[in-house]
C-alpha cells in the first residue's frame, strides 16, 4: 500500500508542478489543485497508513491517529476556498486584461 501511495503522491506532485509552471491561468489553477490534492494525501499519510483502524480509541484493537485527519479536513476546506477564489480572480483578470496569460499580456502577441 505504501508503494502505491507514494507513487500516487509523486505523480500528482509532478503533474501539479508541471502545470503550475505553465503560462495560462487555467492550467496553473489545475496545477494548484493537483498540488493541493497531493499535499492533502501527504498530510493524511503523516499519521501512518493503517487499514481497518477507526480513529476512536476502544472500537478496535488498533486505532488510527485522528489528528492528521482533522488537519486534512482543515486543509481541504482552506484549499477549496482558495481554489474558488483564484478561479474567480483568473476570470476577472481574463476579462479585464483580455487574455488568460498569467502575466496579463501575451509575449507572442506582437510577433503574430
Amino acid at each position: 500500500m505504501e508503494l502505491l501511495y507514494a507513487i500516487t503522491l509523486g505523480v500528482l506532485t509532478t503533474c501539479g508542478v508541471y502545470l503550475l509552471l505553465r503560462a495560462r491561468t487555467f492550467t496553473v489553477i489545475l496545477g494548484l489543485t493537483l498540488l493541493s490534492h497531493a499535499v492533502n494525501l501527504y498530510l493524511f499519510a503523516s499519521g501512518r497508513l493503517v487499514a481497518g483502524a477507526p480513529a476512536i480509541i476502544g472500537l478496535a484493537e488498533r486505532s488510527a491517529d485522528p489528528l492528521p485527519q482533522a488537519l486534512v479536513l482543515t486543509a481541504i476546506v482552506i484549499g477549496f476556498a482558495m481554489t474558488a477564489f483564484v478561479v474567480v480572480l483568473a476570470l476577472k483578470a481574463a476579462v479585464e486584461l483580455r487574455n488568460d496569460h498569467v502575466d496579463g499580456e501575451n509575449p507572442d502577441e506582437d510577433r503574430a
Partner: protein, 507 residues
C-alpha cells in the same frame, strides 16, 4: 485563565462579521465599528507590552485543554511588540483609508478587520498548524484588500500574488506533514523538545522540513529568489492597503524568528544552523537588490516597495548573526522600518494627488501644489527613512552596525548596508529635487487634505519619538532578544509538567 489574550483575535473577527451584517447600514457605522475595534486593539497592544514586559509568558489554553493536546496562545515580549505595532499601524492606515479609499469598493472595513485578526493570530499562536491557519486568514483578507478598488494593474498583480502564496501554502503543509510524521506533534514547544531528542537518522528529514518552512516564510518575508511578486503587488495596492502590507513581510520574519529560535534551536547540533547559513548570503543579496531597486524605480510607490525589500534584507542579515545585540538591533529596525515604509506608501498617494500630471511617476515633471509644506514633509520623511539623525532609523542602524562590528563577517553587512543607504539617499534626493525644486509653483493647486497630512506628519513624529525614547525601547528589545535566545523559558511556560518531569529524572 486570563481571557484577554484571545481578544486581539476575537475582537476584529467579530467586528468584521458585524460589519458584514450591517453592510446596508450607513457607511459611517462601518467606519465607527472599525475605529472602535482598532482603537481597542491599540489599548490591548499596550496592555500586552506591559504584561509581557515582566518577562513572564502569558498562556491561553483554548477550551482549557493543556498543551500539547489543545491549542495554545502564547504572549511573550516579541508577540507583544508585534501586536502593538500591528495595532498602531492598523489604526493609522484605517484613518488614512477613511479619507475616501474605503468607499472605492465593497467591504473594505470588514476585510481590514479580518486582516488584523489573521495578523494577531499569527503573532499569538503557539501551534504550527494554527500558524498555517492564521496565515491563510491573513492571506485571503490580503488578496481581497489588494484587489480592493479594482483595475487592471491590481488584477495582474493580484494573480501573481495569489498563485505564489497558494504554492507557498502547499509547501507549508508539506513541511507540517513531515514534522508531524516524524515527531507526532505540532505544538511549537513540544516540537522543540521532540526535535532535539530525534534520532540521528531523522535529522536529514527534519532539516528538509525546516528548510521548506524557510522557503515558505521566505515567500512571505520576500527574501531574494522569492521576492519578485512584491514590487508589483505593493505598488498596485491602494495607499492605505500598501501601508498595512508593510507589516505583512514582517510576519514572515516573525515566523522565522519564532520557528528557528524555538523549534529547531535545541539539541546538540541544532538544525537551525543550516537555515542561518542560507539566510546570511541571501539576506545580503536582498539588501543589495533593494538598494539597486530603489534607485531604478519608476514611481514613488515602486520605490517604497523596494524600501520594504531593503528593510527585509537588513533585518534578516542582522538576525542571522544570532547574537543578543544583533537581535535587539534588528527588532528596533523592524519597528522603525515598518512605520517608515507605511509613511512612504501614504506619502506617494498624498503627493501624487497634488501633482498636476503622472500621479507618483518619476517620468512626469509637472508642478506640484503646496510644494513648501509637502516638500518639507518629504524631506523630513526621507531623512528618517534613510537613517540619518535625529530619527529612529539612525539609532537602529547605528545599533545594527555596532552589533555586527564584533563579528568578522559583520564587515560584509557594514559595506552592503552603508552602500544601499547611500543609494536610498540618492534616490530620495533625486525625487525631491525633481518634484519640488525644478518645476514652477502650480497656478491653482488642488485643495490640501489637512487631516491626511496631519496623520502622515504624526507617523513621522512617532518615528522621532522612537529615537527620543530610544533608551527604554532598547532596554525592552534587549530583554526580548534574551528571551528569544532562551527557548527553555518558553517551553517551561507552555509545558510545565513535561519539563518538571524531565528535571526530576535528570539527577
Amino acid at each position: 485563565m486570563n481571557h484577554a489574550l484571545i481578544l486581539p483575535i476575537l475582537l476584529p473577527l467579530l467586528t468584521g462579521a458585524g460589519q458584514l451584517l450591517c453592510y446596508r447600514a450607513p457607511f459611517a457605522v462601518q467606519r465607527l465599528l472599525g475605529f472602535a475595534s482598532t482603537g481597542w486593539l491599540v489599548l490591548l497592544g499596550i496592555w500586552a507590552l506591559a504584561t509581557a514586559g515582566s518577562g513572564d509568558y502569558l498562556l491561553y489554553q483554548a477550551g482549557n485543554w493543556p498543551a500539547p493536546f489543545g491549542i495554545v496562545l502564547v504572549l511573550d515580549r516579541l508577540a507583544a511588540i508585534m501586536l502593538a505595532l500591528t495595532a498602531v499601524l492598523g489604526l493609522c492606515c484605517l484613518v488614512y483609508a477613511s479619507g475616501g479609499t474605503d468607499q472605492r469598493g465593497a467591504h473594505f472595513h470588514a476585510l481590514f478587520q479580518f486582516q488584523l485578526a489573521g495578523l494577531n493570530g499569527a503573532f499569538l499562536t503557539g501551534d504550527l498548524f494554527n500558524l498555517f491557519v492564521f496565515f491563510e486568514i491573513l492571506l485571503i483578507a490580503s488578496y481581497a484588500l489588494l484587489l480592493h478598488g479594482g483595475g487592471r494593474a491590481r488584477s495582474r498583480a493580484g494573480l501573481h500574488y495569489v498563485i505564489i502564496n497558494l504554492a507557498g501554502s502547499a509547501l507549508f503543509l508539506i513541511a507540517l506533514g513531515t514534522l508531524y510524521g516524524l515527531t507526532g506533534t505540532l505544538n511549537m514547544a513540544d516540537l522543540a523538545l521532540r526535535v532535539a531528542e530525534a534520532p540521528p537518522e531523522d535529522a536529514p528529514l527534519l532539516a528538509a522540513a525546516s528548510l521548506i518552512l524557510l522557503v515558505v516564510f521566505g515567500i512571505k518575508a520576500a527574501i531574494l529568489p522569492l521576492l519578485f511578486w512584491l514590487p508589483r503587488a505593493y505598488s498596485a495596492a491602494s495607499a492605505p492597503v500598501a501601508a498595512l502590507f508593510a507589516i505583512m513581510t514582517k510576519v514572515g520574519i516573525y515566523a522565522i524568528l519564532r520557528v528557528f529560535l524555538l523549534v529547531f534551536a535545541l539539541g546538540e547540533e541544532p538544525i537551525n544552523a543550516t537555515a542561518w547559513a542560507w539566510l546570511w548570503p541571501l539576506a545580503l543579496l536582498t539588501l543589495a537588490l533593494g538598494g539597486v531597486g530603489v534607485l531604478g524605480s519608476d514611481s514613488l510607490r515602486t520605490l517604497s516597495a523596494y524600501l520594504v525589500i531593503l528593510s527585509v534584507g537588513t533585518l534578516l542579515a542582522t538576525i542571522s548573526l544570532v547574537t543578543p545585540a544583533a537581535l535587539g538591533a534588528a527588532l528596533f529596525y523592524l519597528i522603525h522600518s515598518t512605520g517608515m515604509a507605511a509613511v512612504f506608501f501614504l506619502l506617494a498617494d498624498l503627493l501624487g494627488q497634488q501633482r498636476e500630471e503622472g500621479y507618483d511617476r518619476f517620468s512626469a515633471t509637472g508642478p506640484i501644489g503646496h510644494r513648501r509644506v509637502l516638500g518639507t514633509l518629504f524631506f523630513i520623511a526621507g531623512i528618517a527613512m534613510a537613517g540619518l539623525p535625529p530619527f529612529g532609523g539612525f539609532v537602529s542602524k547605528a545599533w545594527i552596525l555596532q552589533a555586527s562590528a564584533s563579528e568578522p563577517r559583520g564587515l560584509w553587512l557594514w559595506g552592503v548596508l552603508l552602500a544601499s543607504a547611500l543609494l536610498v539617499i540618492i534616490a530620495i534626493s533625486r525625487t525631491g529635487s525633481s518634484w519640488f525644486w525644478r518645476p514652477a509653483e502650480m497656478a491653482s493647486p488642488y485643495p490640501l487634505r489637512r487631516g491626511l497630512l496631519t496623520l502622515v506628519c504624526g507617523m513621522v513624529g512617532l518615528n522621532a519619538l522612537l529615537a527620543a525614547f530610544g533608551n527604554p525601547v532598547m532596554g525592552y528589545l534587549e530583554l526580548t532578544a534574551e528571551q528569544l535566545l532562551a527557548p527553555h523559558g518558553y517551553i517551561a511556560a507552555v509545558l510545565p509538567d513535561v519539563l518538571a518531569s524531565a528535571t526530576e529524572i535528570t539527577p
